[in-house]
Each structure stands twice: as C-alpha cells, then as structure tokens.
Symmetry: D2
Subunit: 467 residues, 4 copies
C-alpha cells in the first residue's frame, strides 16, 4: 500500500527520516511494520521447525511453512486483518493459505499471539542494536576519540555555573562524552543481548504445549534457540516487561548524554564565546530574514529530539503494569518503542555528521582563557597558601578577589602588592610558581586523563569493528 508521504501525520518519517533515505531504509528493516511482520514470520517458522524436529509433524511441513513465511508480505497480512480484526490470526491465516491441508494444523501450533509478537520484538530490537545502533554509536564514539586526541593539549577555560573556573583542555572536555557515550553503548549492548522471547502460551503456564511435551520449558528453549534468544525467566501472556524496560532506559539515558553534548557545543557557539562552529554548506541559509546568521541548528535539533523522546520513558514505565495474566493496554503504547529507538539513532547520526566537521576556533578559545586567567589563579593560590601554612587561605583569597574586582585589578597583581602573602609564597617550587605566573599550565591531569579515556574506548570500538 503506497501513500503520499506528505499526508502522513507523524513527522517522524516524512520530516526526520526521509531526508536521509539511506538511513531511513536501513532502520525500516527492523522498525517498520513490514519488518515486524517479517520477524513474526521468522518466529512462526522456527516454531514449526522445532515441532518437526521433535516428530510432531513431518519435516516437509516445516519446509512448507518456511517457504510460505519467506513469501508473505505485510500488505497481505493487513488485508486479511481487515476480516479477522486480529493481527496474528491474520498472519496465521496467510501462512495456512499457502501450505498444504495437512500442514495447516501445525502452523502456530500451541502458540499464543504474544509468543510470536514478544519474541519478534526481542529479536528485532536485538538485531537493530547490533546492526544499526552499535555501528552508528561506534562511529560517533570514534569521531569523538579522534577529536579528543587532536585537541588534548588545547587549553580551554573550564566553566562551572557558566563562569570561568579553572583551566582544562578541550580534548579533556570531549573525553567526558567519550566516557559517557561509551558507557551507555555498553549498557545498550548488554540490555539488548538480555532481551528475551517466550513460547509459553496464553497465560505463561505452557498449558497448550505441555499437552504434547512433558518438558515444555525445554521445547520453548529450543524454539527460541533457533533464533538465538533465551526464554524469559517468567512470562504471563507477555514476557515480563523489565527486560525491555531496562533496554529502553539504556537508550533514553543514552539520548540524555547526546543532549548534554549538544547543549555544550551549542553554548560554545554563542556569539560571545565563539569557540566552536558548525561548518556551513555552500548555499545554506541560516535565517530567512537575517542573512548573516549561522545557527547551531543541528545541535539544537539533537536537544529537541531528547525533549521529544525522553518523556516517553514514562509510557514504558506505565507498560510495566499489566493486570493478572495480561491486559492489552500496552498494545498500542508498546509499538511506539520503535520511535524512541529511531530517535536515538537519528540523534547519533546527526551528531556524528556535525561533530566530524566541527570547527574549533583556537584563537577564540585562547582569548577567552586570557580574559580571566589572572583571576583563575585564585584556586591554586589558595591551595598553595594553605599548604604553606596560611591559617585562613580560602577567606583571604576570597577577599582578594572581591578587592581585585572592585579595583579592576587582577588577583595576581593584587597579591604581589600585599606583603602579608610573601612569606607563604616564598617557599614554593618553580613548578608551583609557574601555576601562578602561567595559569595555562594549571590544567591538572587533563592530557593524561584524555589519553586514558581514549585508550579504553578505542579498544571498545576496535573489538567491535575488527580492525
């Protein structure tokens, strides 16, 4: 069934995905309705195969079913659903129609709809993670690692509360996102690999399958094993929801890391800060009325995606509650998990593209640092005074700061005028004095920490990309 994309109501497909048809079609292989049907057919096929292996039906029945499952399209199933008003009954009817009469009884045999649907979802989320999320995530991680390594010695003013604090390097600032994104990707991978299927029937007690198999749990394990999945520890009609809840949490919290990165870059692009810029394409327009504008719109877009998808975690938490052996109130809401996954990939893809072209204006970075470097020596000054035995170093330096500010002098200038500090400063080593005279050396372990973080996550990337 084809449709005019501009008559879609959801902006997701027409606005955010179709602008990148390659990415869209890659994701659609797992997240679209067509893909869902395809995955459900994989589960039906695995089921019949194990039935045949256990001698419940001849092996050509399994072959017939597999052939049918390879041929059926979503369109066909949807047409049938117009009659049955039940999506899995429609699917089963489509398979049965394509197989011989003797094969028909073994289609979907002993299974309940959700055995097929929950298992198909576990399978496609897992595959999507392996085939789309991880490659996109690793590409972004690599881009960040390359950037951090390149800029590991570029001195930048550290900022807390939006105020100049003490120096770091820009590479060290980037390393934050390597560690945090890496940590989230590891968690996404872990939780995706822990997604579970089921083949436990209408209320999870193997009522139907145990008619035929003493070891119904083993039978379940075999069917799921065909697909590389483990059974849920417990299922009612549905797989216990915490496997999916943990997985979506990992994704949503991953999106939070991206949003934070986007915010940081956005603010560093402020006119007054100007340490970073998005490279604009030729012909690209920044504003319809202000031709001079170059807006950080890609980073704003990533933040906006977070605002769009993060609150949907509440839907996932609400879907943890299902009455008794199951109510169906998670039926529509559960389907929208795919949108969260797509939103996360969209954000990573966008970031990878703009971060790889990020322009670092080292001149501005340096100028911003210079503007308050004489004041930021307050911290090492206070600490060195304290270490030299000054009894009230913090308060003394706080007063110096206030005085410096009111006299429009730097702390550095003022401290040199005050004889009461001389005795404490006299005993400092050359290196320690340098912190006060050349604050740009007061970057702590920025370089080494950046290197360590890059090494850890480079290994993570390498292990997954077989370089």
């Amino acid at each position: 069934m084809s449709t005019d994309v501009f008559s879609n109501i959801s902006p997701l497909d027409h606005r955010y995905l179709m602008s990148n048809p390659k990415l869209h079609s890659k994701m659609a292989q797992y997240l679209s309705e067509g893909a869902y049907v395809k995955y459900e057919l994989l589960v039906e096929s695995a089921l019949t195969r194990v039935l045949s292996r256990r001698g419940l039906c001849p092996s050509d029945v399994a072959d017939e079913v597999e052939r049918a499952c390879n041929e059926i399209t979503a369109e066909e199933v949807y047409a049938e659903e117009q009659i049955t008003r039940h999506n899995i009954r429609a699917l089963v009817n489509c398979i049965q129609r394509r197989v011989s009469e003797s094969a028909r009884p073994y289609v979907h045999f002993t299974a309940t709809s959700v055995d097929i649907m929950d298992t198909a979802n576990a399978l496609r989320y897992r595959d999507f993670t392996r085939d789309v999320i991880m490659p996109e995530g690793l590409a972004l991680l690599q881009t960040l690692i390359d950037l951090a390594r390149r800029e590991k010695r570029t001195v930048q003013m550290g900022r807390t509360h939006g105020q100049h604090a003490v120096p770091i390097t820009f590479g060290f600032a980037v390393a934050e996102y390597i560690a945090r994104l890496g940590n989230r990707l590891a968690e996404i991978e872990r939780t995706a690999n822990n997604l579970r299927g089921k083949m436990a029937g209408a209320v999870g007690a193997y009522n139907a399958s145990s008619i035929f198999f003493e070891d119904a749990e083993t039978f379940e394990r075999e069917v799921l094993g065909e697909l590389g999945l483990l059974p849920a520890e417990y299922a009612t009609q549905i797989v216990m929801p915490e496997y999916v809840t943990d997985y979506v949490h990992a994704v949503v919290s991953g999106l939070g890391v991206l949003a934070n990165l986007a915010d940081d870059v956005r603010h560093l692009q402020r006119s007054e800060i100007g340490e970073l810029a998005e490279r604009f394409e030729k012909g690209q327009v920044g504003s319809s009325t202000m031709p001079h504008k170059r807006n950080p719109w890609n980073f704003e877009h990533v933040k906006s995606l977070w605002k769009t998808f993060m609150p949907r975690m509440m839907t996932v938490y609400m879907d943890q509650l299902s009455e008794h052996q199951r109510d169906l109130t998670n039926s529509a809401s559960g389907r929208f998990v795919t949108e969260i996954l797509a939103g996360f990939v969209l954000a990573m893809h966008r970031l990878q593209s703009v971060v790889s072209k990020l322009v670092v204006d080292t001149a501005r970075m340096s100028a911003n640092f210079e503007a308050s470097k004489d004041n930021v020596i307050a911290e090492p000054l206070y600490i060195l005074l304290a270490a030299s035995g000054h009894p009230d170093a913090h308060e003394a330096v706080r007063r110096l700061s206030v005085e410096a500010s009111s006299k429009q002098m730097t702390v550095r200038e003022l401290v040199d005028q005050k004889p009461e500090f001389a005795e404490f400063l006299a005993g400092l080593s050359e290196k320690q004095k340098e912190y006060l005279s050349r604050p740009e050396t007061y970057i702590g372990r920025s370089v080494q920490k950046t290197e360590v973080i890059c090494e850890i996550w480079q290994k993570f990337v390498d292990e997954r990309t077989c370089r």
Copy 2:
C-alpha cells in the same frame, strides 16, 4: 513523494490511522506536512495582501502571490529545501519563482520564518479543533447522552475501591463522563480560540516592519485579522508558548477522561462482573489461541493511547523554555504536537463507535446488585439510627457488619434479631423503611442528576450542531 506505508517507522499513520482512511484523510488536511505547507502559504498570502492594501506594493502583486500560494505543493517546497536547508526560505523561493520580478521583493516582506510558522500552527490547530475535534467530541457526547438517558433508571451497584458500596443507576454512572468530557470540550474550544499568531519579526520587536510602518503592531493585527487570528500579547521570535501549552493541556486532560471511561467499561466487562460487553462483528477473532475469548480490546486500546500520548505533555512543558529571543530546541519537538491531537481524535472516534454498540447486560447488573444489597443497607441504617438519636450508630453498624460476615448472615437479618435497635427503627417513615427493605430504592438523586447533566450538555451539543 510516495512511499510504502509498511516502511514507515512511526506506527501512528500505518497502524492506527490508515485502518480508517476517511478519518485519516480528514485529519491530514490539518495535521500533515502537506497541510502545514498549505497553511504557511495562507499566511504568506495574507501578508502580501495587507502590504498592498497599505500601499507598499501594487494590488496585482498580492494577486500574483495569492495565485502562486494556491499552486505550490509540499513536494515542491521540500525539493527546494534540499538546497536551502531552511524550510521557510525554500517556501519563499518557491513563491518568488512563480511571480514576476517586480513582485518578488514583497514576498515574505519584513517577516521572519517563525512569523509564518507559528501563525500557521495557530491557524491549523484552531481549524482542526473546529472541524475535527469538536464534531468527533460532540458525536461521542451525544452517544453518551443517549445512553445515559436510556439507562437513567437502571439500578447498578455503586463501587468504591472495587467494593460494592451503595446503589446508583447506570445512567448516573454514564453522566460522569458527559459532564467531564463536556467540560473538557468546552476548555479545548476556549483554548483553541485563544491561539495566537504573530508578525513581529526576528526578535519580536517589529524591527523590520517598523521601518515601513509607524504602527507596526496595527499592521500585525491586520495581517492576522485576515486569518481570523489575534496577535500574541508578547512574542520573541516565537509566540509566547502558553497559548499552545494551555491548548495541549486541555487535549491531554481530555484524553485522561476518555481513559478513565475506558477503564470503567473494561472492568465492567470482567468475566465475574459482566455488566457490559462490546458487540463483536461476525468473523471477528478474540484470541489466536483461545477461540472463546471476547476481549474489551477497544477500551484497552483507548487506555493504551492515553499511556502513549499523555507523557508527551512533558515535552510541551519543556518547550515553554526557550533561551533569550529564542533557541531552536523546540523545532522538532514542537512538530509532534500534531500527533497528540491525532491521538485524541483517534480515541474519541474509537470510543464513539464502541460505546454506541455497547451491550448492557441488565440481568447481570441486577444480579450483582442482589448479591450484596442486604449488606449495603449498612449506610442508610447507620444514618437512620443516628438521626433517630442512636449515640454511636457508625460503630454499632460496623460491628453488625463484622458479625454478619462471620455468621454468614446479612446485616438486614441480623439487625432484626437485635432488640437494642428496635426503639430507634420504630419511628421511621414508610419511605425510610423502604430503603432498608428495598435497597434498590436507595439510589438518591441518581435519576434527577442524570437528567440535569444530560440537559446541560445536550444544549451544548445543540448549539454547536444547529439542530
């Protein structure tokens, strides 16, 4: 640009709307991207018309622009956006390309992108409310009114905490949803009619338009007046967000009312309660493995829509925050408001359809009432005892209940055995005694209240449907 609907990632269009192509296409006229572009063109056209009326450009320029705006398609604009990477610049380019060289400068003249977009959104949300939400809402309201009137005397056990409490009528129970849905529709209508546009330029200060008009605020008022809108009391680059926030709140809280209705009906369909049922179509399948099942899936679906869309209000609240004269972090997130609107209509439409076919099993309703009617006289008994001067009526009746329960007697039977109550009960009127002997008369003002509520909201419906 056409697309295979089964490759969509969002389930909204392919799963929940395309099953009802008529409703989908009705909604798409306001909520789709095609509709958005159409509405933006209306705003551009209104702008040039007022420019011409004020003599800034000849009137045939306005005619030319209007003609162009009538012809342009979303497809054309999107193709241009591939180059400009800016949606409104693309739109403007498309208009300019279709008009004479002398007309071109007056296209989008003095406007900023958001003047067009925010105004177009206010316009289409308002139209959508008037043309889709209200008709759907009124139809559901009418269905509920008809049901309440029909069942206003059908005695039903009132339930609190899921426990039998004191009697009402089923019509009275339905009246709850008439009052609450009616109240929400009135609020949706009010807030929709309070949506505002703007024509105040890049930072809201009329910088560009005030070059040409001393009375730039009046100019704005004229342009928006063409579209039947009022200007925002204040705008930065964007309309102050609270108009939309209030509107979406009204819709989301309306969805909450529908979800509560759905829950109530759902539970009344429990096997053990069985007071209501969804009428099944011939051939309809309830379960893929349990052929006897008839599930309340439409009501479950409505609850599921609420779980899907309600948390998205948090996105709307987050979009209230925009830095200084605007950041763009509401760009993607703001577009998804359309989905919430669609979800609400979807839920009302579904409910209207199933409530109109709701089967009331009065026999079961009556049987459920009978099962504990002798116990529910505890309330009138305690009150009548108190009114007759019993000093500790509540405690006395509470003990009676405990004793009745342990003796497997009814409260009614037990009280008659206890001489200590005789004196207090002696003075009761016939009507009062009837409450104790025929608890089904103890329905208070259920009938009258139902009638009043129905009358109020029938008037509301009638005023809006010109009957």
Copy 3:
C-alpha cells in the same frame, strides 16, 4: 508532636523552607497537615450549621460543633487515627467526644469522608492562592515592571540560537516575563476560583442526604456556600478531578515561565557575556575551592525547582483516572499537590529577591552590542534593498555576510565598496540610512511595546493591591 528537622527525609521542609521561617510558616497555614485538619473542621462545622438552619437539629448543636472544631488539633486527630486507621473517622470521633450526647449524631451527618476532604482541599488551595501565591506573584510582577521601565531604552543585542540577531532593549526582554508571568497569574487565579467542593455522599448520588432532603443538591449548595465555594458539576465519591488538574496545570506552567526567566538571566551572567550579575552579600562564598567565583546559584536553584516539580504534573494526570465511583489510588499521590504549590511560591519568592537586586552591567551590554553591530545590519539592509526593488536581496546579503566573514570585514564596510548596491541604497530616507549607520536605532518598537506591557500588568497589580 515535635521532631528533629534534620531527621526529616523530605528535603522540602528542612532545606528549602526552614531557611525562610516566615515564608514557611505562612505557607504552612494552608499546606501543612495541621492546616488540612483545620480546614476539614471548617467543613464539618459548616455542615452542622446548615443542618441546624434546616431544622434537622437544634441550633445549639451547631454551636457546640463549631466550638469543638475550633479547639481540635491535628495532634489529637492523629492520636485517634492510630486506633481507627481512618483519618476522617478519627476526626469525627474527636468532634463527637467534645460535644454532648444529643449532638453527636449530627456530626458528619449524611457526609462521606471525601465530602470533607475534597471540599477542604478546594478551600485551602483557593485561600492559599489568594493569600500567598497572588501576593508573591504580584510582588515579582511589580519588580519586573519596575526593572523593565527602568531599562526600557537600554539597547541590548537580541539573541536567537545564542547568536547575535538584531537589537532590542533590555526592558523589552524583561517585558516578555511580565506578559507571561502575568498571563499565568491570571490563569492561576481563574482556576483557583473555579475549584469546587462536594457534599454528595459516598458515590455522588446524594443517597444519604436525600433521605432527609428532597432537594439534596440545594442542601449541598448551601453547605458549600457557607465556605464561599460552588459544588462540582458532577461528583462520584470524589469531585470530578479536572478542576484541580487545571489549577495545577496553571501553576506548573507558571513555574515553566520562571524557569525560562532563570535560564535567560543565568546565561546573561556567563563570564563571556556578563550583562547581568547577582549582588553578593558580604561574606558570601561562591565556591569552596575557587574563592573568585560568583555563581548565579539563585537562578540555577529556580531551574532546579522546575526540574523537581514539573514532572509531577504526570501524577496529577494519572490521578484523573479513578475506577467507577472511586478507587483510592489517588490518596497518597493527591496529597503531594501541596508540594508543587510550595515549590512554585519558593521559586517566585527567590526570584523576587534576586531580580530586585539584579545588577545590569550596561557597559558590557553595550560592548557586546558593539562587537557585532556592523553585521546585524544585514537584516535591515536586505529589507531595504528588497523594498528598493533589488530582485534577490536576501541571497545578495547572505553572500555579503559570507564574504565579510572571510575577509574579516564588516558587512557595512563591504557593502559600501560594492557599486552594485549603490542605486538601491540611493533612495533611502534619512531615518532608513540611520538604521545602517547607527544600528543601535534599529530597535523597532521595543520601547513602546515595553510600555504597553507594563501598563497592562501594572493595572492588574494595582487592581489587586488596592493602591
């Protein structure tokens, strides 16, 4: 019952309120448990008064009950609740214990617990709004009006996407928050005055009261009228929840306005921007380790309060759903509404205090403007070119901007070098030329709009403060 405040688990009281004992105690008169009990007693008292007026009991019963209600303390009720395990039964017992035996039956007569509790909540929220929210809100509004008026001509660079856009005045920027906060206060007032009570009994059908009164609805109206309240249009055991939902929405969206204001001020305090500063008290410490730091922590605090309380609106939306004539799952959650109200007042109070002491660094404001004023003429230049008949003004100016940037020239300098623009610029009026030569005049209607907004909301303040 007294307690060590440092053993409280909730940070709300000990951390955020007790630092301001005066404000805390003012709020506690409405929001504490003690206040809740006091308000419940007001409702019980009003009930008996109307019973007596209608002749159901002698008037000295009403006097006795009123006296008792004035004396009872929360402590007493809680002690009794240890036995009854039911808060309103405990309250009723406490009243009954203090009145004569003949008065006892008329205490709480025909009422159900929630008649008392929901009515008490409507009453105290309404009073809290009138006595605390509005005064605090008006004080903040007045502070903003004073600031806007003072700074209405102070030129500031308008910023979109964090980028310099076109000029406004600082007063105009402040006017945004006058309009938005004013709008929210009006909505809070409207919804608070629309809060409703009930006296409709256990399932809302007046079962008990209609034993004694034919016109049970009028009886309800009289009891609530004693308290200045209207009855809910419909009630089950509980008042239909949308009255409270709308009220809390108004408050939560009001908190969003405060958070946005806080963000704006925060960012204008960034080291590189420095247009605003919080005035520090003598002795105040900015950082435990960086003695020079002066952090915008009050504004950060307001943002943090928004993050704390905004998501709780979801609880309110969930509490819209209550099964049949009521389930009790809103019992605990509904009590936390008081925290949202307290959080909102806390944020307003904090803002009022710091905004009134806000330091505007006009030198920095001016310097920031100067830094890009030559580029921001791009907008008026493009518009004037277009108005003078340039066929492709936007694109021409966009190219100028790119060229200016690459040549490190200003747009202004570059345009003067380009003969192709001369003919279009020749016909400009003096005023129009001034926009290009003195961009600080290109502030549109900033001053006038600021004045209009201030006037509107000054009137709102004045009407409510009887000046």
Copy 4:
C-alpha cells in the same frame, strides 16, 4: 532544631513515615539531612587520613580531623551556613574551628565541594541499599515465596483482558512477582554497588591535587578506597550522572513491579471476584459512612506511591544534563532522589505486611473457576482437534463458542452433540481427554514453574541472609 511535625509541608515525613517511627528512624540514618552531613564528614575525614598517610600532613592532623568529624552535628553546620551561604564551606569552617591552627589548612585540602557531596551520596545510597532496601526487599520476597509454595497447587482461573482464559494456579500467579521483584532487587544491588565517588577537583581534571601528587588519580583511588568506593570513570565537577541514573531507574522500575502486584491483588478483592482479602484489625474502619466496607486500601496506597514517585524519574533524566564542567541546576532536584528511595521502601514494607496477612478465599477461587471452566476447554479442544488433523480447528471452535453462548450451553456440551468432531476426538489419550472433562487439570506447568522460580529466589534470599 526541632519543629512541629504538623507544620511540615511535605506529606512524606509526617504522613507516611512517622506512622512507622521505627522504619522512619532507620531510613533517616541514611536519607535525612543529618545523615547527609554525617556522610560528608566521613568523606572529609577519609581525605585527611590519606593526606597524612602520604606525608602531606602529620598523622595527628588526621586524628584531630576525625575527632572533629565525629562530633559535628547538622545543626551546627546549618547555623554556619546562615553566614557562608555555602553548605560545604560551612562544613569545612565547622571542622576547622574544632582543630588546631596547624591542622586547619589540611581540612578539605585540594577538594571541591562536590568531591565531598557526590561521594557522600554514593556512599549513603549504597549503605541504604545494603542496610534497608535489601533487607526489606528480601523479607517481601520471602513472604511471596512462602505464599507461592503454599498455594502452588491452588487452581485459579487465568485472566487476560480481565476475561477468563485458561487455568493456572494461584502460586504460579504469585511466582510472577517473585521473579520480577527478585530481578529488580538484583539490579538495584548491582547498580548500588556501581555507585562512584570522586576526588578530582573543581572541573574534574585534578588541578589542585596534581599540584602535590604526580599520581592524582591514584590519590583519588586511595581516598575513595577508604570508604569502599571506586572513582567515577570520568568526572567534571560532578560524577558522571549515569551511575545514579541507572540506580534510580532500577528502583523506579522496582516500584512498578510492586504497583502491578498491588493492582492484581486489588482487583482480586473486587466484590464480584473476592478471591483475596486484606485481614482487618479489630476496630479498623473501612469507610466513614459505609460501615460494611473493607477496602483494599493498602494495595491502593502502594499504587498511589507509584503514581507519586515514578514520574520523578524524569527529573533524574533531566539532571543528566549539566552544562560544560557543571551547572548547578541539579542542586535542589538531586536532593529529592532520597524521597524516591524512601517511597520504594515504604511500598515494600507496606506490601510485606499485608501480603503476609493476605486471606486466600479458595472457595471463591474455585467457584470463579467453575463458572466458566466448561468454556475454557476451547483452547485445548482447538489444539487437540488441530493435532488430530482438523484442518480449521480454531475457526471451528470459535464458531462453537459463539453458538454455545447464544444457546446458553457450554462448549463442552455442544461439542459432544456434534458428530463432525467425533473422529478427531476418538484418538485422544486418556490424559488428553481429561483436559476436556476435567479442565482443572489443564494447568500446564504451573506447579513446576512455581517450584523452579521459588528455588532460584530462595537461593538469592539465603545467600544474603546467611541462613
């Protein structure tokens, strides 16, 4: 500082915790402000100890500081904060005041406030998990295990969509919550043990500490090692937030499991179902006006706690975002994490108490089963027909169900009347025939699955309680 509990605004302490003073005081040892200060002092003490071990200061300095830290109270720190307006500076001042002049410089040496606060939080959340969450969780788990084992053979109707489906046992239904709660407790334990501290200074780059130690990372590791913690992989001024995010997610999703259990029990207590009941204490009142009511209010309370605390996860997700090396907008919001933890424990504690006294009405359970047992054979019938070669078994049985319903017969009766089924049923084994004649045997693997789940989680409990 003592306070009247009834003037508290937060209902958490006065309403939900003080009713259980023992539990409250146990939790307050970790979650109160007093506890927070105590934990911060532990961190300050550990810091000085490592400084002395590394020779930066004499060992009696560490002794002095430790002594001071053992003595200081929250009250003292709060009094000092009135002056400094900075909580950690106040803490440091308090310590310094109690130690000799020569020791003062080494207090808080090289640390930033958040080094102390984030580390203290990691520490107390971890301890709280070990000392309160886990014991409470294990007690509830044990109660559920005992119940499941006792009821493992009690046949209960399985319910999907609130409709009778196919049979299970009540023990099997309970096993759901053993598996899910167990799974959550394991996740809570895992994430609590992964909470991290930091001692990396104002921007996370060890600027201050690396003045004195080449190996500042090792120094950090040593200080945290004193407390049994690991350092964060990366820190800005704050520990990267995902450790806490994961922990709170585990808790919030654990609360979801409890809410689901509460819902299930609540519905099984409905008057019409009546399979379970809360045991009421003598004198306990169910309703202020309906003396006969026995409401499932404890289970409703647990659901209400979930509605209160679950949405707060959004605050935690928002707190993932902190600008650059840190903004302070997580300062207030982060403190409220303690309330979520308290809410979770409160829910577990309440559930443990009521589940341990849960009354199972096996007669009603059996009666409910009997009521539709003849219809639920539809599933085994369809499957056995299919296995016997019936080509269209599902459709045939669906039609049987419809016919049975319209003829008010059971499926069982009807199938025996239809000769067309005879041939397929002829070949069934005795066991298979029994499913149709005695549907109560059609419980699948309910018993065995219950046993397996109980065994797994009994082991989990035993390992943690050293039995």
